[in-house]
């Protein structure tokens, strides 16, 4: 059920938008003004329609598509050039949309009336036409819960691919299995995916292990976005440590430096801050020095091999690492390093392929477009040469 303070995803066919649920705060989505108050204590996943600036649950109707077999009783030999078929001009349609009291259904009716080709279409394409127009003009949205699954769709669909290094759902899914992330693990993550990987890891560890998030300066800003959307319970994030990547290879020095600062500290807030940093450094040091890292995931905008070289020695033997890159070469470098130093076995470079299908009676085929850019993974298992 939706609660105040949750984030919700508004979904139409090919757009997704995220909003926090705040009471009595009207805002615009597409051309519709609405408040989110009505969503509280309502279920996720249903379609909701905006009426009188409030969202109303739309009862789920059976998917009609599925129950209609294609009837090829008309063909399209007489169909001609597309834009000429619609007698309403672009400007006229825009004007129609601005009318205060016009409903989406009315707009669609006008479009059909003015469509020369509508009656010539096969029944199936008539339906497809209406469905497409409905999705565009009706104020109906699916309200989805932000989960790793829906969020990875959100970033890919909404043209925010670059924010998450093009991380496709299947690639992310493989990162999580090949790294063996689960409860009771110490996981080290270095990512530039707005927190998509970090949040997935936090969810799979679920507070039963430790998650160390390495970033320049230990800043949490670049990974906060998706952690916020996920709205985890506090026990999930209590063992999440944001630590500066640049200190991870000189922990002794860093601890000494912090101790010195602490010794001369006069002001209380400064002392508190340093004490916290010191505790964190000790925690990370304990895991790194005793080689207690169980899973290592690198998916960042930095060249991975020098980072891997520093971090791999903190891993216990027989543990899994996964490195992601949009291109192969940085991973080939990592591969050479691992082979040369014999620090790992079962090293595999892979890419993946994800194809979606339209499944309808008599009309099943792969979707016309596919995302061909799932990136590459380098996976492997650490070994000891003792």
């Amino acid at each position: 059920m939706i609660k105040e303070g949750d984030y919700v995803i508004f979904k139409k066919t090919d757009t997704m938008k995220i909003f926090p649920v705040k009471l009595n705060k009207p805002f615009m989505i597409d051309r519709f003004k609405t408040k989110l108050d009505n969503l509280v204590n309502k279920p996720f996943g249903y379609k909701y329609e905006i009426k009188d600036q409030q969202l109303h649950l739309v009862q789920n109707t059976l998917s009609d598509d599925m129950n209609k077999v294609a009837i090829f009783d008309k063909d399209n030999r007489n169909l001609v050039d597309k834009s000429a078929n619609q007698k309403l001009s672009h400007d006229e349609i825009e004007k129609l949309k601005q009318l205060e009291d016009i409903s989406g259904t009315e707009i669609i009716d006008r479009l059909i009336e003015n469509s020369a080709s509508f009656s010539q279409k096969t029944e199936y394409s008539q339906e497809k036409y209406i469905k497409k127009k409905k999705e565009k003009y009706l104020a109906v949205f699916e309200i989805l819960k932000p989960t790793i699954r829906t969020l990875s769709e959100y970033y890919i669909l909404g043209n925010h691919k670059r924010k998450v290094l093009n991380m496709r759902m299947d690639t992310l899914a493989q990162i999580l299995t090949y790294s063996n992330v689960a409860a009771y693990r110490n996981v080290v993550v270095l990512e530039s995916c707005k927190g998509l990987i970090l949040a997935s890891v936090v969810e799979r560890v679920a507070g039963f292990g430790n998650v160390i998030n390495l970033s320049p300066n230990g800043s949490h800003i670049s990974t906060k976005e998706i952690l916020d959307y996920m709205n985890f319970p506090p026990e999930y994030t209590q063992n999440l440590y944001n630590f500066p990547l640049e200190r991870s290879d000189k922990l002794d020095e860093y601890i000494e430096e912090l101790n010195k600062k602490l010794a001369i500290a006069t002001d209380d807030t400064f002392r508190d801050k340093q004490t916290k940093k010191l505790e964190l450094a000790h925690k990370v040091n304990e895991i790194f020095k005793t080689k207690k890292v169980d899973c290592l995931i690198i998916a960042s905008k930095f060249r991975p091999s020098p980072i891997l070289e520093k971090l791999i020695d903190s891993m216990a033997p027989n543990r899994n690492f996964v490195i992601y890159s949009l291109i192969q070469e940085p991973l080939i470098e990592c591969h050479s390093f691992l082979k040369r130093t014999q620090k790992a076995i079962h090293i595999e470079l892979s890419d993946s392929w994800l194809r979606e299908y339209q499944v309808l009676p008599e009309r099943t085929h792969p979707k016309n477009n596919m995302d061909c850019c799932g990136g590459y993974l380098l996976t492997g298992i650490t070994v000891t040469n003792e």
Binding site: M1, P43, G45, Y46, L57, N60, T61, L62, S63, D65, M66, T147, I148, R149, M169, D170, A173, Q174, L176, T177, Y178, N180, A182, A183, Y184, E203, R204, V205, A206, F208, D294, A316, P317, N318, R319, Q328, I332, H335, S336, K339, I345, I347, E348, L349, S350, D351, S352, W353, L354, R355, E356, Y357, V359, P361, Y376, T382, V383, T384, N385, E386
Partner: protein, 331 residues
């Protein structure tokens, strides 16, 4: 030792994986007093006990590596009793079913329990897997394996025909997974088994006809967001390359042949790949034999990657759908 956890040292009774190379792995159960014979000679089980996982083990004629049993290693080394689901599909299934510690999952059939181990690892220590298999012996073997792998606290095995008798569960599961010849016959019961607040379902089928029937049934029962995908992972091997330059000034007329009889570089790359088992017997686990990769560590060579020639081109279709909160369904 539990397959769900990460472990440091080998103990008696552990199921460990003897690793020879990327496609030669063998699970064994460590038992003091036993000997294990490999192509590198034999070793005593007792020698493993107390050793670190990920160590090299001395056999009479060479060394091998010993790894702990984990879901991914088990999937590539388990004794096949049925077709199994492999890690790339397992990954997508786990993600699309929203699994995490605490999830309650129903699965049928258990088969060789390749998927089951991965599911358990993701949902433990607070979740539970209910796995259904109508083949008596398979269900018993799975139960025995779960015990040996120390994961039985998180899984219950049922011997049952889910198509004719259903799952016998109500408002229990966050997710249901079907790998059955006629999955559509189990969907009505799956719907009953899913929690009141709704959940996710996935069906894996090799044939498109199965997908069509499954999708129709899902739609009929009010599932939404029905979609089907195929997901494949392709492994690339790393190759050194050094193409010869063509000599424009050479008198090719005098040259015997046309200079192409020593296969061109591409052929060479392929040829290298087709000899995964070198003729002379390797005495040691050797990093360079662990894959088709050609890496000698020299830093001035130029490397590239190329897909391994023959790889799975089809495994199965994955159909997913959502069941929305039951209290708001239309009556």
């Amino acid at each position: 030792m539990s397959f769900c956890k990460t472990n440091d040292t080998i103990k008696e009774g552990d199921t460990v994986i003897i690793y020879f190379s990327f496609n030669q792995l063998q699970p064994i159960k460590v038992k003091r007093g036993s000997n294990h014979h490999t192509k590198y000679g034999s070793f005593k089980h007792a020698d493993l006990i107390g050793k670190k996982y990920g160590s090299r083990i001395q056999c009479t004629q060479g060394t091998v590596i010993v790894l702990q049993g984990s879901p991914e290693m088990w999937t590539i080394s388990l004794p096949h009793r049925t077709q199994i689901i492999y890690t790339p599909n397992i990954s997508v299934i786990t993600m699309q079913l929203d699994l995490k510690p605490g999830s309650i999952v129903i699965e049928s059939g258990t088969g060789s329990a390749s998927l089951s181990h991965a599911l358990i690892r993701t949902i433990f220590p607070t979740g539970h897997l209910h796995t259904f298999e109508f083949h008596l012996q398979r269900s018993e073997t799975a139960r025995k394996e779960f015990k040996e792998h120390d994961v039985s606290d998180y899984v219950t095995v049922y011997h049952r025909d889910v198509c004719s008798d259903g799952f016998g569960k109500e408002d229990l599961a966050d997710a249901v997974f079907l790998d059955l010849p006629s999955p559509w016959k189990a969907i009505e019961s799956a719907k009953t088994a899913i929690k009141r607040e709704g959940g996710r379902i996935c069906s894996f089928s090799p044939c498109i006809e199965q997908v069509q029937k499954t999708s129709l049934e899902l739609a009929r029962l009010g599932f939404v967001n029905i979609f089907t995908v195929e997901s494949l992972r392709r492994v690339l091997s790393i190759k050194k390359y050094d193409l010869p330059d063509f000599d424009f000034n050479m008198d090719w007329l005098k040259y015997k042949g046309n200079g192409q009889e020593n296969e061109n570089q591409n052929d060479q790359i392929d040829k290298n790949e087709e000899k995964p088992v070198p003729k002379k017997i390797k005495k040691n686990f050797n990093e360079s034999d662990d894959s088709d990769d050609e890496v000698d560590g020299s830093t001035d060579a130029t490397y590239t990657a190329k897909p391994i020639n023959i790889q799975p081109g089809h495994t199965g279709f994955l159909t997913f759908a959502t069941l929305l909160h039951k209290d708001f369904h239309k009556v």
